[in-house]
């Protein structure tokens, strides 16, 4: 193994980030963030999605460069130009998406990028297994990677950065791919590494896991540090939850209440699997009435995306049934669902709802092109007229109808997508993160469209990570966590605290309230 190319000086702080700023076009992800991590500690970095955690860690790992701010590693000022720079300064990151080669063995994956010129397989495997044993990482170095579970692959990723002698390990939401027993095992491994003098930054939004594993916590909200280096043991989970979601009362105007009608969409014990084959949600039952907006709150990755896909017919359910207007649509095609009045505004606008390389007109007619044919041809004038109509009615600002859709801004993309979906006069709308990433005007426009639909008797399911938004416009609020509905709230009376706790903890924490 290589020796660390630096000497650890007396500084007790492994990582010091001060006043870090980073903006991307349209968003400021980090607005003066501070973070201090003690050497040999496990430090939790908490925050809702979009709080700036990942951006900050990508800066620390050399993936992004900060606009301004100082970065000190073991007391030395550093500027990283790329991940290799960060690695040579002793910082390694395990990303959420693993970067491993399926056809290589565990040992080959571990030494990837730092392989010796002559590869003595047996010797390398021996060294890898020594390293693995030292930290209690149970993997077989000669096993091909594709045979490994997600949990085992994570261990390979950790080994990979240990092999490069990283002193600071960043784990980006490491528990999302793990089963509960694997989470416990990970905790033990991290403790061993901390005892060895390594520092670990653990990104998470699951409070109960953090309290079992981490020593200290820093909380980010809206790109700023709201609490730094809180000792976990003496901090109430409730307090952490409050710090993460904030207490600011929503100032937006609540729409006039509407009297909901009969149930339109019924979910009876629906279950499905996520992309990684683990259960995304199970035995989910609720119903949506005509003329109401039902808000699904929760931190991303707790089954909301899969829920939207199952309702839209893009992901098969494994059990249960789905009824729309009393017709069973559990196994119906997406097209049939749309024709029966189900509109879907997917989370990925460009890539699912819209085809990136095609023109604005081509995208506008996606739902109706089958009705605009003469023989095999799509009638160009009809398509263009339809596109113009959507563009005008929903205020899409665009110059060139035949230009590529990707040239539109986020707000205009969403107006076009929402307009196209609403034009089918749906009786149910599933809107997944419909206002995410939009500017104030865009958010308002989309919210108003959804409220207008509700008032005209449409059943709306709105999935959002923005709790304030849901508390403002939803008529009923369901909180989803780990694929389970953790609570139902009335947005008019619910306290933000109670909703926040339901969002961030599993059932155990709830019982304490």
């Amino acid at each position: 193994m290589n020796q660390a190319p630096f000497s650890i000086n007396d500084s007790a702080l492994a990582v010091e980030l001060s006043d870090v700023w980073k903006s991307f076009p349209g968003v400021t992800a980090n607005a003066g963030v501070n973070l201090s991590v003690r050497t040999g500690s496990i430090h939790a970095l908490l925050g809702e999605n979009g709080a700036g955690k990942s951006t900050l860690m990508n800066i620390l790992a050399g993936v992004y460069r900060p606009d301004s701010g100082e970065l000190r590693i073991h007391g030395q000022s550093q500027q990283f130009r790329n991940p290799a720079d960060a690695l040579s300064a002793g910082i390694g990151m395990v990303h959420q998406e693993f970067r491993l080669i399926p056809s290589f063995s565990v040992a080959e994956n571990v030494i990837l990028g730092s392989a010796p010129r002559v590869l003595r397989t047996k010797q390398v495997e021996l060294k890898v297994s020594e390293l693995a044993e030292r930290f209690g990482l149970k993997v077989d170095p000669s096993q091909p990677l594709w045979q490994l579970s997600m949990g085992e692959r994570q261990k390979v990723e950790i080994l990979k950065i240990l092999w490069r002698n990283a002193q600071v390990l960043i784990l980006d939401e490491p528990t999302t791919v793990l089963t509960p027993s694997e989470v416990d095992e990970l905790g033990e491994i991290l403790t061993k590494m901390a005892d060895d003098g390594r520092s670990i930054i653990f990104i998470s939004h699951k409070l109960h896991e953090v309290s079992g594993i981490c020593d200290e916590a820093t909380v980010l909200r809206q790109g700023k540090t709201v609490a730094s280096a809180l000792p976990i043991e003496s901090t109430d989970q409730r307090e952490l939850a409050q710090l993460m979601v904030g207490t600011s009362a929503s100032t937006a105007d609540r729409p006039e209440p509407n009297t909901p009608g009969a149930p339109v969409l019924k979910l009876n014990g629906l279950s499905t699997l996520g992309d990684r084959g683990l259960e995304a949600f199970s035995n989910l039952s609720f119903q949506v009435n005509a003329g109401e907006i039902i808000g699904i709150a929760g931190v991303a990755g707790n089954g909301q995306r899969e829920l939207a896909d199952v309702i839209a017919g893009l992901r098969p359910s494994t059990s249960g049934s789905l009824l729309m207007n009393d017709a069973d649509i559990t196994d119906a095609s997406p097209q049939f669902r749309f024709r029966s009045g189900l509109a879907y505004i997917p989370e990925d606008r460009l890539g699912v709802g819209l085809a990136p390389r095609l023109s604005i007109t081509d995208n506008a007619i996606l739902r109706v092109y089958r009705q605009q044919r003469r023989g095999p041809f799509i009638l160009a004038e009809k398509a263009l007229a339809y596109c113009k109509d959507i563009v005008q009615r929903f205020g899409v600002r665009s110059a060139d109808f035949n230009g590529p859709i990707a040239a539109l801004s986020g707000g205009n993309l969403q107006r076009l997508l929402v307009g196209r979906e609403l034009d089918g006069q749906p009786s149910v709308i599933v809107a997944s993160q419909p206002t995410r990433g939009l500017d104030v005007q865009g958010v308002k426009a989309i919210q108003e469209l959804l409220i207008e639909q509700r008032n005209s008797g449409v059943a709306v399911i709105m999935i959002s990570e923005d709790l304030d938004e849901l508390l403002t416009i939803a008529d009923r609020l369901l909180v989803m966590e780990s694929g389970i509905i953790r609570g139902e709230f009335d947005p008019r009376t619910a306290s933000r605290d109670a909703v926040g706790i339901a969002m961030l903890s599993d059932g155990q924490a709830m019982t304490e309230i």
């Binding site: 500027q79 997406p334 085809a355 990136p356 081509d362």
Partner: protein, 362 residues
Amino acid sequence: MRQPRLSLREQPLPGGQPLAFGAGLLIALIVGTLLLLAAGHDPLKIYSRMFEASLGDPDAWAKTINRAVPLGLAGLAVAVAGSMGLWNIGAEGQIMAGAIAAAWVARIGGDWPGIILISMMLIAAIGGGGVLALGPALARAKLGVNEIITTLMLNEVAIRLVQWLIHGPWKDPDSFNFPLAPMLPDQARLPTLFSRTHFGLLIAVAVIVIASVAVRYTAWGYELRIAGSSEATARYSGISLSKKILTVLVLSGAIAGLAGGIELTGTADRLTETISNGFGFAGIIVAALALMRPSGVAVVALLFGAVQIGGQSIQTLGVSSSVSTILQAFVLFGAIGAGVLSRYRIVLDANTRSIKKEMSDD
């Protein structure tokens, strides 16, 4: 230390692909000049000869057009699959499969009237190419098997099949034991239009026009383009991806097969193992330069045909025909490079601080 890197331009440079293609030709000419000078030839003389032989008079045009026909159809085959994001690397084999099927019709229909025989040969060629693409198409559509590998491997199968036929069952008894297939019947020859330009030109132009219109203006082509842009969007709107993949890959094979049939009835005397002559692989380049747009392949194929014919002609001046192959490669490099530079610009990294250096200063 300043490091160059590519940075996306906010607006691509005007001119787009035609300009990039022109730049590619220019780069190829410059590199070719250096090569020719290094080999002791007079570049001006060589280039004028190439031009004369490929575009200088009607006979030269005929040669170029006859070459452009299989190149264009092979390019179209690749581009049709490419419109949906599929890679048909097997046009070479499908051309041979088409030629085999057409040759088989010629064997059984030796006494049929010309128009019927040729029509049947071309239909058989379409079928032959389609059949060879059917396996990869089914595997991709139903099992998700990567079509690049399967289509590529079937090229080898097709060429071995031709070799076996002309060494074995289809060997001409009058060939003094040479491995040659028998000559085609006289009436199996495509009629010529002008000079030696054969009727295949009209067929190729018609097929390219029909395919371009189909991809651009029909509901079928619309679904193809949606799926090519984003499979998730296709599923979202209820387009059946597996059906689409199946039809598109078989159609792509059929178009390549037609090229094989035309080549056999248009320019060859008999089925040979060089009947495809690398057209299938050149077709990939043609389609790439046409940005996978069916409407673009005709022009690219014509220019490519001219480069190939010109390259062959300079052999009589003592220049290796590899020069023309090298020129073709540089047209591709140049055009792709110019295409990239029209969308990106090169910036020198201003950050001069090197971490490693900083460390060693401690």
